[in-house]
Symmetry: C2
Subunit: 199 residues, 2 copies
Amino acid sequence: MGYKVAPLARLIEQFERFPGIGKKNAQRMAFYVLNLSQKDAQDLSLAISEAHSKIHNCSVCGDLTDEELCPICKSVNRDKSIICVVEDPADVLAFERSGEFRGLYHVLHGVISPINGIGPDELNIKSLLTRLNNDEVKEVIMATNPTVEGEATAMYLSRIIKPLGISVSRLAYGIPVGGDLEYADEVTLKRAIDGRQNF
Amino acid sequence: MGYKVAPLARLIEQFERFPGIGKKNAQRMAFYVLNLSQKDAQDLSLAISEAHSKIHNCSVCGDLTDEELCPICKSVNRDKSIICVVEDPADVLAFERSGEFRGLYHVLHGVISPINGIGPDELNIKSLLTRLNNDEVKEVIMATNPTVEGEATAMYLSRIIKPLGISVSRLAYGIPVGGDLEYADEVTLKRAIDGRQNF
């Protein structure tokens, strides 16, 4: 019902496929596009096609880049002795926003998930081991998500990496800063107690 | 911080401009685009540029269309004796979704708003009067939004239209269906009482 104008219907339908975008929002977004200037609409359309065609994975760490190496791997200011292993490029952005980590990253592009048919060979793991063999890496931080699959993947990797004489660590679990104890789930609370630190 | 890959930064920035889309959502949307297949990304880019270039206002009612006349004005199944005047094309979609209204529409593309420098001449009003003079219109329903400007615009139009011998009506105000009396504001409650109807 309603969307009888084909190009409008197609546009709304495209926006509805975006994550977290419902029918109403897709419609608002489509009207926003129709109200753009000719140039702004072209810029938007171009930004999509360019981002898609130009961005690929960094040949070293697997993060997103439009050049051979990503800005972090290319940087001379990063500590090359420590690698933070994450699931997705979005996780790299999260770390970079915090500005706390000055080492390098390695993006797995997923987690080991037998139920979805994803084994170690489907992930960006081989190139991690190559980096560990060639480079002056002293520590690997496992920063996969605190899910069953994220844990299992971290465990799997640490068993491979430890024998190489490289120390493997895990992000701390606990109460999120600004979080409310009252609303923390039992598992998080247990982890927070287990990982308690001396003042 | 973080968005050091230019095409990705540009895409996120484009999505942030959309109404109701914050930083986090824009980022999720950009990653969604990067994960699309080549064809799907092209389709999305094309849907935007096509919708923008092909869609314009119906020469009769001002609603959106990619042809000379919109599907509603062109239809032989609509009651041409009644016109519903709305602010925006999105309002037409809302009415069409309800499926209750079988007449025609007229889209003003805004409301009279002296504070924003929008007078009657900036709105799609002249073509409404042309329709009323030429056509077999018996009734005009004012369906502008229940805001100060929407009210004033409806008032302004009704003063012009009534002398033409055409009856002018207004959408009913009241408690929204499924709404909770407890949360209704005072103005709405007053309107609901004023407009009460016999069982």
